[in-house]
C-alpha cells in the first residue's frame, strides 16, 4: 500500500517518518511517497497534508494544478489527514484572528469553521496532554495553531479545550474519511497516523 504526503511546503519529512513508524507498529508494509504533481495522487490509499504555511501551500497548489486534483481525489473518498495548515486547507470557512477574512486558496471540503492563529503568536505556542476518542491519549504540540469553532453537516468536533477568550473550542474534527487536527501529531506521536492507516483498508 502507498501513503502520500503533500510535499509542496511544510514539515513533510516528519509526516513521512510518522507514517513509516505507524506502519511498522501495525506490522503493515507501507510505502510513503511525496505528492507534488497531480499524477502522484493516482496510486495512494491515504494522504497527509502537513503543517506549514497554508497561504504558501494554497498558492503553490493553485499554480501547479494540484488544487483541483486534490479536491477531486479527496471528494472521491481518499482518506485524508490535515494537520494545522493542512486542516485550514481542508476547511470550508477560514478566518484569521488578526486580519480577519482571508482570500487564500483552500480545498474547502470539510464542514468546519477554522480560526487561524487562534492562540496567538509563536510565543504562545504550547504542548498539552489530550485525549481523543478513537485515538487515545497523546501529547499534542500546537504551533501558531488554528482552532475549530463550528461544525455542521456530518462533521463532528473533538478534543475540546477551554480558551480564555474564544471560550469552548476544539482541536480535532472528523468527517467521514477526513480528519483535521489543529495540533501536530507528527511531532510527538504515531497514534493519529496509525488511525489513518486503519482508515485506508486496501
Amino acid at each position: 500500500m502507498k501513503a502520500g504526503v503533500l510535499a509542496l511546503q511544510g514539515d513533510v519529512e516528519e509526516h513521512i517518518q510518522a507514517f513509516r513508524k505507524a506502519a511498522q507498529e501495525l506490522g503493515r508494509s507501507v510505502e510513503v511517497v511525496q505528492v507534488k504533481r497531480p499524477q502522484d495522487l493516482r496510486e495512494i490509499a491515504v494522504l497527509a497534508i502537513p503543517g506549514g504555511e497554508s497561504t504558501t501551500i494554497g498558492a503553490l497548489a493553485r499554480r501547479t494544478g494540484l488544487l483541483d486534483a486534490l479536491r477531486d481525489a479527496i471528494k472521491g473518498g481518499l482518506p485524508t489527514l490535515g494537520t494545522c495548515a493542512g486542516a485550514i486547507f481542508l476547511a470550508k470557512e477560514v478566518r484569521d484572528s488578526v486580519v480577519g477574512e482571508t482570500k487564500q486558496p483552500i480545498l474547502g471540503l470539510m464542514d468546519i469553521a477554522v480560526v487561524r492563529n487562534a492562540f496567538g503568536r509563536q510565543r504562545e505556542s504550547f504542548e498539552v496532554d489530550l485525549r481523543e476518542e478513537g485515538i487515545g491519549a497523546l501529547k499534542a504540540v500546537f504551533i501558531r495553531a488554528p482552532a475549530f469553532t463550528k461544525a455542521w453537516g456530518s462533521a463532528r468536533l473533538a478534543a475540546p479545550l477551554k480558551h480564555p477568550e474564544l471560550g469552548q473550542i476544539y482541536a480535532a474534527a472528523f468527517q467521514g474519511h477526513m480528519v483535521a487536527t489543529a495540533f501536530h501529531p507528527e511531532l510527538s506521536t504515531t497514534a493519529v497516523h496509525r488511525y489513518m492507516l486503519n482508515l485506508a483498508k486496501t
Binding site: V12, T55, T56, L60, V99, R123, S125, F126, V128, K162
Partner: protein, 338 residues
Amino acid sequence: MIGEVYAHLEKIRDFFYGLAEVRDRLRESGVTWPKPLPEAEVGTVRVKIGLPAMLRRGVIMDVTSVEQAQIAEEAGAVGVMVLDKLPYDVRKAGGVARMADVKVIEEVMSHITIPVSAKVRIGHYYEAVILQEIGVDLIDESEVLTPVDEQHHINKWAFAVPFVNGCRELCEALRRISEGASMIRSKGEAGTGNVSEAVKHFKALYGAIEELSAALRTGDEERIRDYARRCQAPIELAALTARLGRLPVVTFAAGGIATPADAALMMWLGADGIFVGSGIFKSQDPRERAEAIVLAAAYWDDPEKVVEAQRMVSEKSAMMGIDVKTLKPEELLQTRGV
C-alpha cells in the same frame, strides 16, 4: 561593619525565603500563574524546534516595510524578516546597524498572517528581550548587524521564542545549537547577490558531517570526541549529528541568493529552505522574483518547474551583484561572531 553587612544579607535571605513560602502556599491552594490553557506548557524545546519545522521547503524574505511584507505574503513566502535596511544598504551605509524599529515590526505583525522574524545584534540580550516582548515569532542573531559582544552569543535557552543563527561550518553550527539555537542558516555573504559563499558554507557543513558519520559507522568514537573537543561543542551533539547525517535542527540557506536557480541550487545542496535578503527588493521585478523563488524552492527536484520559475524573471532585472573577492577583509560580514 562586617557584622552589619551580614545582618543585611540575612534579612534579604529571609525575605526571599518568605516569598518562596508564599508562592508554595498559593500553588497548594491551586492559584497558578496565568497560562493560555490549563496544563499547557509554553516555550518547550518541542515547541521551539516545531516552528522552523513548519517553515521547511519555504522561503523567508527580508522586508523593510508593510508594503514589502504584503508582497512577500502574496508571493507565497513562509515568513518575513523585518530589517531597518536591506543587507545591500547596510553595506553601503556603514555605521552601526541595529535592530529594526519596534513600530515597523509591530505594524508588519498586524498586517500579515505569516510568521514575522527580526534580527538582533550578536550578543545583544536586550534587543532579544524586546523582540520577545512584542511577540516576534523567530529571532535571528545576525552578523549582518553590528555585533555587541565579541566573545559570546546570547544564551538562547533563556527565551521562549526560537532563535536562528548563522554558521560557516559545522563547529560554529554545533556551538550555536548548544547555546539553544532552534534553527541554523548558512552565513553566506549577505548583500552581495553572490551565492558563492553560501555554497562554500553548505559544502563545508555537509563535508564535515559526512566525515563524522563515516567515523561513527566504523566505530571510531575517538574521532568524534576529538572533533567535539576542537569545536568546543558537546560530544553528544556531535554524535547525534553524525547519526542523523545532518544537523539536528532545521537548516536554511542564506547569503547572496538572488535568482530561482540560486534557490534550487541551495535546496539541492541539502538546505531545508531559503532566506532571501536583498535579492528580491533590490531587483527590478520584486513581485515576479518573489513568486519564482518560492516555486523554485518547493520544486527544486523538478527541473521543468525550475525552468518555469527562471522564465518568470529576467537576468536584466536581477540585483547588481558584488564579487566577494573585491571586498576587503574588514567589509566581510560572515567573519563576525564565531
